[in-house]
């Protein structure tokens, strides 16, 4: 822990520091640009707090070791970028199915394939639907600044512990490689959430039994509960369901995986809004582009255009009704993102008016305020 105060810090280092402040005690990863500084910093910081840093042989192993450590009771994180995130998808699915808390930082880079190491916001849908199967929810957060990388990494741990779900920090090269001021608070001022642990008689314990909108208390490995974990479709007792005629035995557990997130969406969701109360044009953006959007909106206001900004901090789950409500009085909605249109279609679906939603898509790096301002003037 460092002295509270202001530091000039690299985004990736702020992310690592945030993890340590969140109580992370295990980090497994494989080097990849532009993620490597997170791993480097974790290798320096973790041993000082009695934690484990391990560089695994690949990203497949990194996510699996992270899950193993979390099942054994440690707060655990891994970090990667584009290609590595693709490799981790199966592991993320296992963490969802076994309800294992863990944090995955994905510093987005240009894709598909090796693409390049500069920034893109291309993994929005991969974060949502990257692992196979159609019945799950995930939480993903989008940082816009070095301060966000610190704060949201802590948030990610808290959400992950509370809902027993992997939480993805969807950073991007331009934010992770940014150096700016980070205000580090006193550690005692940070609110930390720890997973609920099983306390009942081991003979009574059903590892996956909980109301549909909650997650069950967890029995960590070695605590005497003799739990069986599997990525297989399973019952509340954790037994695999091996035939279709017995599917109903797993139905509640499998529906709960989505429902525990969906029914708590109001508690999970975080947005930032500026000048939207009377806005005729709203720019929806996230990550680095949201900073450009804010500047563009302020410039537009100076020109007398009633513009506002809505920044998505929680990318997933996507809060349809809230977005619809916030955008209801706007004449036009500009969606600025660095991909071929991913959140764009979520917004279109949410506001249910194709004419109103205008894409401002860029394929690499990030938007400049002028690019966004030009679009605002165009639709004004």
């Amino acid at each position: 822990m460092i002295k509270p105060g202001s530091y000039f810090m690299l985004g990736n280092h702020a992310c690592a520091l945030g993890a340590i402040y969140a109580g992370c005690k295990f980090f497994a990863a494989y080097p990849i640009t532009p993620q490597s500084e997170i791993a480097e910093e974790m290798s320096r910081l973790l041993p000082k707090v009695g934690g484990i840093f391990i560089q695994m042989e690949d990203e497949l192993a990194s996510i699996c070791a992270t899950i193993g450590a979390s099942l054994t009771g440690l707060k655990a994180m891994t970090a990667t970028s584009g290609p590595g995130f693709s490799l981790m998808q199966e592991g993320i699915g296992y963490a969802i199915a076994t309800e294992t808390p863990c944090v995955i930082v994905n510093v987005q880079r240009v894709g598909p394939s090796t693409g390049s190491i500069f920034g893109q916001q291309g993994d929005i849908m991969q974060a949502r639907w990257g692992t196979h199967g159609g019945i799950y929810e995930i939480i993903a957060l989008s940082p816009s600044s070095v301060q966000d990388l610190f704060n949201l990494t802590i948030q990610a741990f808290n959400l992950s512990e509370e809902y027993r779900v992997p939480v993805i920090v969807l950073s991007e090269a331009s934010v992770s490689h940014l150096r700016e001021t980070l205000k580090v608070p006193d550690i005692n001022e940070i609110n930390l959430v720890n997973r609920k642990l099983a306390t009942c008689d081991p003979n009574e314990y059903k590892p996956f039994e909980a109301p549909l909108n909650e997650c069950p208390p967890m029995a960590i490995l070695g605590s005497g509960y003799k739990v069986y974990y599997t990525g297989h479709l399973h019952t509340e007792e954790g037994h695999p369901v091996l035939s279709l005629v017995r599917y109903h035995l797993a139905d509640k557990v499998w529906r709960r995986l989505s429902n525990k997130i969906k029914s708590n969406i109001d508690k999970i969701i975080r947005l930032e809004t500026k000048y939207i109360e009377d806005a005729e044009i709203i720019v929806i953006a996230y990550g680095m582009s949201a900073r450009a959007a804010l500047k563009a909106v302020m410039d537009a206001r100076e020109m007398g255009i009633k513009a506002g900004m809505l920044r998505l901090i929680t990318i997933w789950p996507f809060h349809d009704s809230l977005i619809r409500k916030l955008c209801a009085s706007a004449r036009s909605i500009i969606v600025a993102e660095v991909n071929n249109g991913q959140i764009l279609y979520e917004v279109k679906r949410a506001v249910n008016n194709d004419q109103k939603v205008i894409p401002l898509l860029k394929l690499v790096d990030t938007h400049t305020p002028d690019e966004i301002l030009l679009k605002i003037k165009e639709v004004a």
């Binding site: 005690k25 295990f26 497994a28 041993p47 000082k48 009695g50 484990i52 391990i54 695994m56 042989e57 690949d58 497949l60 192993a61 990194s62 699996c64 070791a65 992270t66 899950i67 193993g68 450590a69 979390s70 099942l71 054994t72 009771g73 440690l74 655990a76 199966e90 592991g91 296992y94 490995l221 070695g222 605590s223 005497g224 509960y225 003799k226 739990v227 069986y228 974990y229 599997t230 990525g231 297989h232 037994h239 695999p240 091996l242």
Partner: protein
């Protein structure tokens, strides 16, 4: 009379889904017996497996157990062991899971010398998907995906693990009951990465397709007649050894394990 190992088996999870005469029952029996004979607290045992026939057995042993992802058991196990070094983490895996899709994790776990015990049941095929060729299938063997005979050569897993740095390496077949249990016990006690390969029968696929033997006992007899102790190979020619399964302990050495290295590192910081 109650079976002496009943206390170690989650009988409430029965029935199992293994074919009659499968070697998997033997392997889990031996692992349970090894734990029992060593007197280890079952609350401090974690069995980790991947995917495949062999991986399905962990849920019948009365301890914490995980069926993980195909090939990734060792990565999970590494995370578990480092997170709580007081646990006895035993990986039970098959040849396809452990050395095919999971081969990279196998050699790296051995290189790191993580304090894990790996019991790998080698039945020479991908059994749970229907007996397709595996990295361990003999050259020339006919399987559903080698209809003209296997054109590749199989792994010698014990040599691979020796080269990768495992501190204990042994191979037995399902005929060698007692030596196999002793090896598993040695592996569990070892302060480092131990690897015990069990060549076992899959009567449904290996027996039918490769050995052309239909009864489990015939398969076990075949292992008996076609295996040779490492100590006895001295006078045999290469040709005589070509189709033999060499069994025995190949490595038994001392080397500082990964957990201990972490502890030393913390001492320095």
């Amino acid at each position: 009379m109650e079976h002496p190992l009943k206390k170690l088996i989650k009988t409430e999870n029965l029935p199992h889904e293994f074919c009659p005469g499968c070697a998997i029952g033997q392997v889990y029996h031996w692992v349970a017996r090894a734990i029992d004979e060593l007197g280890i607290d079952m609350n401090k045992v974690v069995l980790v497996s991947g995917i495949g026939c062999c991986a399905r057995g962990v849920r019948f042993v009365r301890c914490d157990a995980l069926t993980t992802l195909h090939g990734r058991a060792l990565a999970f196990a590494t995370g578990i062991k480092l997170a709580n070094p007081n646990l006895n983490v035993i990986v039970v895996t098959g040849d396809g899971d452990g050395s095919g899709i999971g081969g990279n994790h196998l050699i790296h776990a051995a290189r790191r010398n993580v304090e894990l015990t790996v019991v790998l049941l080698n039945n020479g095929v991908y059994a749970s998907t229907g007996g397709q060729v595996a990295p361990t299938t003999p050259h020339g063997a006919y399987t559903p995906t080698t209809p003209f005979g296997n054109i590749e050569d199989p792994f010698d897993l014990c040599k691979l693990l020796e080269a990768a740095g495992a501190v204990y390496v042994a191979r037995w077949t399902t005929y060698h009951v007692r030596p196999a249990i002793e090896s598993i016990k040695k592996g569990i006690k070892k302060k480092g990465f131990s690897f015990i390969e069990i060549i076992g029968q899959c009567p449904t696929y290996l027996g039918r397709y490769v050995l052309k033997l239909y009864e489990p006992v015939e398969c076990i007899n075949w292992f008996k007649n076609n295996s040779i102790r490492k100590e006895l190979i001295g006078n045999l020619s290469k040709e005589e050894l070509a189709n033999k399964i060499i069994v025995g302990e190949f490595v038994d050495k001392e080397k500082i394990g990964l957990v201990e290295r972490y502890q030393k590192l913390y001492g320095k910081i």
